[in-house]
Symmetry: C2
Subunit: 398 residues, 2 copies
């Protein structure tokens, strides 16, 4: 299975843990492409099949086409029209030579293409076939359109995000897609490991909703154990205070006073010494009860000086605190630079335009890192078809 | 490696893809336990080592102890004191018989226990050793305390969440822990697959910060490609409108009008027919420019009737929309019930008290589902030590 992999001087795989695994990727937009990107990062050969002439719809979201660019490194693109017999046959031939198929169409679409699991498993019984959708392949909501905002609303996450007296808010990134994608990768890798024992393939049904609910593990257990709905707490901690975000004179920062010792350290900051004399703030239980009054006073003091001053005072005392960084600050942060957490890709292909992108979320795993920039539409159609049919064996679809 | 696994009638593994893999888990609180729980869900034998008498600190966060309950199914608990020579030797003996070690102490702590990778790899060169921390093992921030709120602040996610004119908000769940945990599982499984080829172990360094930045992929690419910071947009879409959350007379819901066809469908709702005559709302580009005025009018109309009415009208016209559900609504939702997305655990052990918890975020993967409820502190100390040393070979630590 890992035939073309070799071992380098340190005893590690040169091309990554998934080298030798071929993925036929008919997914578009986000959760599917994110899944196959992680597999490509780990060395899999990901062949992205796209509609001739148009391709993945996310190619058009922009400029600067950030969704496409950030989800499609380490793949090859081939234009194949699944609506035609010729395209469908190419897809089936690719599947015969592949290990994994990933799709994230609306449930039922792959059946219309006659590429549903039952059909495909007949010609390739050891295929791992992963369907990703907003709400899963079964259940009364399965047919509904899958947009990250909708899944955040239905999961309960929005109801838990935002100011207690404000609107329910979405998290500021497509976390249903991302957590759904991670769930897909884990389950595909588990199925590849299983296949080594059994020789059998699998059908995997990933619902972004199921994955996103794991972010609400604690709230769901709290509600079902107590029968009491978990109120939206904004940036605060439901059991501890002060533990949230605060305004300095110039910017916001977060701080967590997690126990009595930390509270003593906090009121050793000269500007907060007067809080020691307030009986309503003596014990943590008092501070929770009198939270509003306490926070008003803390806000008032913090607002008088810049964040840098407060963060230094808190740091000295071992109280966890950090500034709330903007994206420009994140991208230029010395820590993130030193860790090499960000990588560069070129896009469009051949343009010489290099863009910074978050890299793989692990260090020192056998991974080829970025071997390929996000491909142009159909950039590898000829290469993929010649691998399949030999030189001149078939004209490129589209 | 999968010696005790057997194949069931359908050709699948009975005990899960990771059956035969043993995980020594010295992690506490959230990202680490979440990682090992997913591995236990897939059939790994996870042995959770806990400080005698006290154990994982999350056992005390409550009642109802939701963090502990939702992160520790499918594990065994053994009380072992890593501060003593006896405990350290038990840990090393377990490692000799294990495949994976997971820890999420502050960087440097495992070295103080003389259980750092360099030391452990000498006695077990094929161990996969995974360290999870807030900011990673390297870089100027590596020593800083790792709380989900802090990582959300530093990642840039908070600056992207919340009302444009309000405070930066955290997402309403510990998503740095969850995405960090998923990253850890993927990298451990990749390293297990690699080990089959090379026979070698690996050291993996997971930073919750690196993982969480992937949620900001699109914003980071947009910023680095254009040089323009990506403004916080609340619940809105940066390029399309109306595409956000709206208030009905009784509750909030989300709606996405994604193109001209959808806009035509939207203004075919009788209450919105008058918008067709407003020149400022004609094309998508106009609606973006005149967004505030348009949204004010849409809000005014939506506020007059209940969400159920609007959702039915939108549904009829194929416009994506969903109510923003509360947790009680999520837990009792017919779709989630039909999919079996929630499971039950008993906790405390033997109490007969059953609590609902989100299950595994995949369907039909070879997984043993919930085989074990979250263990009591030291519930399996004797069992684990007898497996290691034989009956009566050593007295249970603690």
């Amino acid at each position: 299975m890992v035939s073309s992999n070799t071992i380098d001087g340190s005893g590690a795989l040169k091309k990554g843990a998934l080298n030798g695994i071929r993925v036929v990727d008919v997914s578009r937009a986000l959760a599917g492409p994110f899944t196959t990107m992680l597999m490509g990062d780990l060395g899999a050969d990901v062949i992205k099949l796209e509609m001739p002439g148009t391709g993945d719809e996310s190619r058009y979201w922009g400029p600067p086409f950030a969704t496409y660019m950030s989800s499609n490194r380490n793949k090859r693109s081939a234009e194949v029209d699944l609506h035609t017999d010729e395209g469908r046959n190419i897809c089936l031939d690719l599947i015969r030579n592949a290990d994994v198929l990933v799709e994230n169409f609306r449930p039922g679409t792959m059946r219309r293409f006659k590429l549903d699991y039952e059909t495909v498993a007949k010609i390739k019984p050891d295929l791992i076939y992963c369907s990703i959708s907003a709400y899963g392949q079964t259940g009364p909501m399965s047919h509904r359109p899958g947009i990250d905002l909708m899944v955040q609303a239905v999961s309960g996450l929005m109801s838990q995000t935002g100011e207690p007296d404000g609107r329910a808010m979405k998290a500021g990134g497509p976390i249903a897609d991302i957590v759904g994608g991670f769930s897909a990768v884990v389950s595909i890798m588990a199925s590849l490991m299983e296949r080594r024992e059994t020789g059998r393939g699998r059908y995997i049904d990933i619902a972004m909703l199921d994955a996103l609910m794991m972010v609400l593990n604690q709230q769901i257990v709290t509600y079902t154990a107590t029968g009491k709905p978990y109120a939206r707490v904004g940036n605060a901690h439901p059991l501890m205070a002060p533990y949230e975000s605060f305004p300095a004179s110039d910017r916001e920062f977060v701080m967590a006073v997690t126990n009595e010792k930390a509270w003593k350290a906090f009121i050793s900051i000269p500007e907060f010494a007067h809080l020691d004399e307030v009986p309503e703030f003596k014990a943590q239980v008092d501070r929770n009860i009198n939270r509003v009054k306490m926070l008003e006073e803390i806000y008032r003091v913090f607002r008088a000086k810049p964040a840098e001053y407060w963060l230094a005072e808190l740091d000295k005392r071992g109280i966890p605190s950090e500034p709330i960084l903007t994206l420009p600050e994140v991208v230029s942060h010395p820590h993130i630079k030193e860790r090499g957490s960000l990588m560069e890709i070129e896009y469009p292909p051949g343009s010489g335009t290099r863009v910074v992108i978050p890299g793989m979320p692990w260090r020192d795993v056998a991974a080829p890192r970025i071997q390929r920039d996000p491909p142009g539409l159909g950039q590898h159609t000829r290469e993929v078809l010649e691998e399949l049919y030999g030189p001149g064996g078939i004209k490129a679809a589209g």
